[in-house]
């Protein structure tokens, strides 16, 4: 089915565009809106947004592929993002990542078969004083230990820690 921007989206989009003197400046916030609804930005959604903002499709695709937070395919319900930069590295991030891989039975960039977890590594999350840090969807989990990590995964599996998308 072809992708169609909803009237609700268009109303919100008009409001967001009004913050800028040129409406194409709203491209990134609008992509964030679309991703917020679907969990990812599909090719068809890029095309529809390009038409809506009267932009070349290549401009939209270029932006989506430049920024790491845009997903071009659906992810698991919980996107686990382990920081691998220097402070988290020194605080044991490699061991935490290894533990997650083993526990979930997946490698970086993969999603568990039940569609619950996607595992990624990310660069500095800006929370180095509470390293090691993991971001699950939009929430930060800091000062992680193997025990806290296990508890988090169990909670997520049992729906005990509802996260925003």
């Amino acid at each position: 089915m072809p992708f169609k921007l909803t009237e609700e989206f268009k109303a919100k989009a008009a409001h967001i565009c009004a913050r800028y003197p040129r409406k194409d400046a709203a491209l990134i916030p609008l992509l964030q809106e679309l991703q917020g609804q679907a969990g990812f930005v599909a090719e068809e959604a890029m095309d529809a947004l390009a038409q809506y903002l009267e932009l070349p499709y290549a401009r939209v695709k270029g932006v989506v592929t430049f920024y790491t937070m845009f997903n071009r395919a659906p992810l698991g319900k919980y996107h686990l993002q382990v920081c691998r930069n220097i402070s988290c590295h020194m605080a044991g991030a490699p061991a935490l990542l290894g533990r997650l891989k083993e526990k979930l039975g997946i490698a970086e960039g993969e999603t568990t078969k039940d569609g619950l977890f996607t595992l990624s590594t990310v660069e500095c999350l800006g929370a180095c004083g509470t390293a090691p840090v993991l971001q699950a969807n939009e929430d930060y989990f800091e000062n992680l230990t193997p025990e806290k990590l296990d508890a988090l995964i169990d909670d997520l599996k049992h729906g005990k820690h509802p996260l925003k998308r």
């Binding site: 992509l31 964030q32 402070s87 490699p94 500095c124 800006g126 180095c128 004083g129 939009e138």
Partner: protein, 425 residues
């Protein structure tokens, strides 16, 4: 030097507008609006406040570069794209004192004649962005933001704009590109943003911490602020410390505090059994200091420059003897290679080349010749690109290889890391 002075930026019970207002907040805005815009800028010049994002450029001077007679709009942009590895000070400030930033922006907007401001906050800071949106709405409801602020006739609209995951957008012209809805690829300078910035108009871009210091400067005067700190390094700075210390976190201290005092008094020293090996004093792109160098340095712009490094963002990364310097540099190289926007050849190719060389050394396939290659590639990147990302890669490489060469040579000879670090690989 007074070390137990009252904090200017990190205060308690000012998260909400009520608390901030009760503590005297938004009085400086009223005071500023009764002055001429040029008088506000002069006060900030007098304070010797310098950019807290890393470059340390004098803030008042930056504001005065906005052409006085330029027609059309002007913009004020706050750089809240905190992402320099080791840096987490702006996050703390946004959570604890968001109205200092909002008030600072209203004052700065008035000084430069901007009717619109944008806070560009990194995309990952979702909770912080939501909190900031709320704080801006609260300020707008009380008439501190919006039309005819406090009856002065000055209009200032403020918007929160979330990034989408790209370290390079912390570079001010990449940030502008991103804010305009493009890929975050830095622009050639000149023209500088003060002349041709956001949407082609004169623009000032300041860091969160810089703007948050402005209300106190207006309230108490530039001379008061200039007297804090050490000479040209005026005022207080947020230092964020990470690594194996007993009390990692964000500390507000007058510039010029000796590193040794900071480590022992504020950070509670190194964790039991850990021995200091090296310090990255100002975020991952600043040259590393040996333990001896660090213990002799004061934390201010001039002292760190004299020691061959930089104050940067105030991100103090503590490295202990159990860490392998080759491995840590590999972690940084992977980061810079990943974050290079790909525009300039020396950066795009150089970061990748450096990462490959470090991968080889870490895997035990490296040679002593690789060390010289590593150094020369870094040297060839310095100062040859549009933006400083290439320098940000080259500086750690050159300082790590120069100061910890024996560890790199040991890797080239097939011997690996200190025993404690080996398990982390």
């Amino acid at each position: 030097m007074i070390l137990n002075m009252e904090s200017i930026l990190l205060k308690d019970n000012v998260e909400c507008l009520e608390g901030y207002f009760a503590a005297g907040g938004y009085k400086p805005l009223k005071k500023a609006l009764a002055l001429k815009p040029s008088e506000v800028t002069d006060e900030v010049k007098k304070s010797n406040l310098r950019g807290r994002g890393g470059a340390g450029f004098p803030t008042g001077l930056k504001w005065s570069f906005i052409p006085k007679d330029a027609p059309g709009p002007r913009y004020l942009v706050c750089n809240a794209d905190e992402g320099e590895p080791g840096t987490f000070k702006d996050r703390e400030l946004l959570l604890k004192n968001p109205h200092a930033l909002i008030e600072g922006m209203a004052i700065a907007g008035y000084a430069i004649g901007a009717a619109h401001g944008y806070i560009y906050i990194r995309g990952e800071f979702a909770a912080e962005a939501a909190l900031l949106e709320r704080a801006v709405a609260d300020a707008r409801a009380k008439g501190f933001i919006g039309r005819n602020i406090l009856g002065s006739g000055f209009n200032f609209e403020l918007f929160v704009h979330r990034g989408a995951g790209a370290y390079i957008c912390g570079e001010e012209t990449a940030l502008l590109e991103s804010l305009e809805g493009f890929k975050g690829q830095p622009r050639l300078k000149p023209p500088f943003p003060a002349v041709k910035g956001l949407f082609g108009s004169p623009t000032v871009i300041n860091n969160v911490e810089t703007l948050a210091a402005v209300p106190s400067i207006i309230e108490k005067g530039g001379d008061w602020y200039a007297a804090i700190g050490a000479g040209k390094s005026a005022g207080t700075k947020l230092f964020c410390v990470s690594g194996p210390v007993n009390k990692p976190g964000v500390y507000e201290l007058p510039l010029g505090v000796p590193f040794r005092t900071f480590l022992e008094n504020n950070c509670g020293g190194l964790k039991a059994g850990k021995k200091l090996k090296a310090v990255i004093p100002g975020g991952s792109s600043t040259p590393v200091l040996t333990a001896a160098e660090a213990l002799a340095v004061n934390l201010d712009y001039e002292s760190l420059a004299a020691a061959g490094s930089m104050l940067g963002s105030g991100a103090v990364i503590i490295i202990d003897e159990s860490q392998c310097m080759v491995k840590l540099l590999q972690v940084l190289a992977r980061f810079y290679h990943h974050e290079s926007c790909g525009q300039c050849t020396p950066c795009r190719e150089g970061c990748g080349w450096i990462e490959k060389l470090l991968n080889r050394l870490e895997d035990g396939r490296g040679t002593v010749k690789d060390l010289d290659t590593l150094y020369s590639v870094a040297e060839a990147m310095l100062g040859r690109t549009i933006c400083p990302l290439a320098d940000a890669m080259a500086m750690p490489v050159m300082s790590f290889v120069k100061k910890f060469r024996s560890e790199f040579e040991a890797h080239a000879a097939g011997k690996c890391c200190p025993p404690d670090a080996a398990g982390e690989h």
